[in-house]
Symmetry: C2
Subunit: 128 residues, 2 copies
Amino acid sequence: MDPLAALDFSKGNGLVTAIAQDHATGEILMVAHMNEQSLRETLARGEVVYWSRSRGLWHKGEQSGNVQKLKQLRIDCDGDAVLLSVEQIGRAACHTGKRLCFFRFWNGSEWVDDGEQVFDPASVYGSR
Amino acid sequence: MDPLAALDFSKGNGLVTAIAQDHATGEILMVAHMNEQSLRETLARGEVVYWSRSRGLWHKGEQSGNVQKLKQLRIDCDGDAVLLSVEQIGRAACHTGKRLCFFRFWNGSEWVDDGEQVFDPASVYGSR
């Protein structure tokens, strides 16, 4: 069976929503998108490959070393979203150097950053 | 401060991705979308209001009773996704009657349904 047969890429113009969850802690690390090719490569490699409007096919962590090993792949009821249970290699999922992307919460009057800064993005990606 | 000032609705044609996570267990219940109005109503009500292409403004659980009480709102680094930490009222988040929407996983050769069926959709929504 082709795993992609259960997916519906039509609603998202060729993309599905991809949520990465830490397999050990249950924390949501990030959310991005996948197209058919990125999902096939994810399954073939056992490491997460997203699709990015700016980067194209994006093997997460290829540059930073912060790859995500796929532990389990789930799809939702509508087939237009996938939930990736991953092992985050390296300490950070977020390009900002935070451990995860959802590092701001609304406290009723402002956004509060409670994220853990685990690397300096300039030292990993160079200045930009 | 207007909480929506930190959000970027432009990349998603007026929508952001909205992920609902059970505040107690860390389980991902569902993923959907929000527009500006739905996010404002969510904050005003303290219950999650999504935006659906088919339903429009969608106060989750209005019909089924399975509302989601908002415990915490987070945004991601790019401002185009929100993570809703919720208390799921009633037993199910999914319109299929499963407890959560990501009830199928890929076992390497087929999709396996390990979801818990907590209601019969026909009895809640009527036949359709």
